[in-house]
């Protein structure tokens, strides 16, 4: 899938402005939204089940906790090599939890997050998708 990023302001914008052409965006935007009309037959056109994205993971399960724990333990906090994280942490402690982190750590942060802004473009496309076995069903005629 091509996700094309355009910056209206030219130059290196921080706001990501992908064109809504990617399938993931389309699914997210339109699936299960819009008006439903009783008089109309709902046709299961697309094998919607193929497209259902399990995007919302409730933050409450043991699985989720273990994933968080794993992500936290994976952090390379005390190691060097390319990432300069220790410096970043020093700076972070200074700025504290402030949401409006100033540009003070910008340079260091570029080293950390740097390329990820570009490379992660496709992340959304790779979220787990659920497949239902009922895709052979061709039409759902639900009349109201």
């Amino acid at each position: 899938m091509t996700v094309q990023t355009t910056s209206r302001r030219g130059g290196g914008g921080y706001l990501e402005r992908p064109a809504p052409s990617g399938l993931a965006d389309v699914v997210e935007t339109i699936l299960d939204k819009g008006i439903v009309i009783d008089a109309y037959v709902r046709v299961s056109l697309v094998g919607i089940e193929l497209l259902t994205i399990d995007a919302r993971i409730v933050i409450a399960s043991v699985d989720t906790y273990l994933r968080f724990a794993e992500a936290t333990n994976r952090l390379d906090l005390y190691e060097k090599g390319g990432k300069d994280l220790t410096e970043a942490i020093g700076d972070l402690q200074e700025t504290g939890a402030s949401k409006k982190v100033s540009g003070a750590v910008q340079g260091v942060k570029k080293a950390i997050t740097g390329s990820s802004r570009d490379d992660d473009e496709d992340e959304d496309d790779e979220r787990p998708r659920r497949r239902s076995s009922s895709s052979s069903r061709r039409r759902e005629a639900q009349r109201g």
Partner: protein, 252 residues
């Protein structure tokens, strides 16, 4: 009805309702079939013919639906139909439907006039935010020290506690950050819908915005994105049709 008798297998795929007089020429929908506007009482239902007996579909159909609806949303206001709505028989039913629901369609179209939807998602830079937690939350930090050298793949109880602590801290900052973002944006927004969050989502929201304000909102978001870029990615998609602002109730 006559049409149904002649072509029992053909129906009309339904994209949505627009004001009468909207130009749909050149728009192609599902199966690349040309789109038509069925006008009645100042409104137009946008449809295209469709073979009802179909093999399990493809994502192309979803994309085609979005393409038609979003193209119309660029030039006029539209009440989009839910994906997969089709009329089985003939166009007389469309007129009847526009009659019955005309009042409501006109009301919604009037409310949407001159506005577009933009979808905003703010997502944490996970490693950055987790690093902050380890630095700032003594519980997280201690549990991390005690669990990080455990053999991989074993769900140790302290790992669960660590995850819980992280989850709690994450929810707290999500709530704060989402509120902060929304407050900064709401002056530029006519209406908004916040959707449930994913794991590292800060905010996932549909914004209804006056067309002339879209540029202002983008600039504001760019400023905000720069301020928070170490911790969050801000992603804005659209304009798209106002899918989130036409109500969830069943019509007709």
């Amino acid at each position: 009805m006559a049409e149904a008798a002649v072509l029992p297998d053909v129906g009309f795929y339904f994209y949505g309702v627009v004001p009468a007089g909207t130009d749909v020429a050149g728009l192609h929908g599902l199966d690349e079939v040309e789109v038509q506007a069925v006008e009645h009482g100042g409104l137009a239902a946008v449809v295209s013919t469709l073979t009802l007996e179909r093999p399990p579909g493809r994502s192309a159909e979803l994309v085609a639906h979005a393409r038609v609806v979003d193209a119309l949303a660029e030039v006029t206001e539209i009440v989009p139909a839910q994906f997969g709505s089709a009329l089985e028989h003939d166009l007389a039913e469309v007129a009847a439907f526009l009659d019955d629901e005309g009042e409501q369609f006109r009301r919604v179209l009037a409310r949407l006039h001159g506005k577009v939807q933009l979808n905003l998602r703010a997502t944490y830079q996970a490693d950055q935010v987790l690093t902050e937690m380890v630095q700032q939350d003594p519980v997280v930090s201690e549990l991390r020290d005690r669990t990080r050298h455990l053999p991989a793949g074993e769900p140790h109880p302290e790992l669960v506690r660590l995850g819980e602590a992280v989850s709690r801290a994450l929810r707290r900052s999500q709530a704060d950050d989402a509120e902060w973002l929304l407050e900064a944006l709401l002056p530029h927004v006519s209406a908004h819908v916040v959707r449930p969050d994913g794991e590292y989502d800060v905010l996932d929201a549909a914004l209804l915005v006056e067309r002339p304000v879209v540029g202002v909102l983008e600039e504001r978001l760019e400023e905000l994105a720069e301020v928070v870029h170490e911790r969050m990615r801000l992603r804005l998609v659209g304009p798209v049709a106002p899918y989130d602002f036409v109500g969830a109730q069943t019509w007709g």
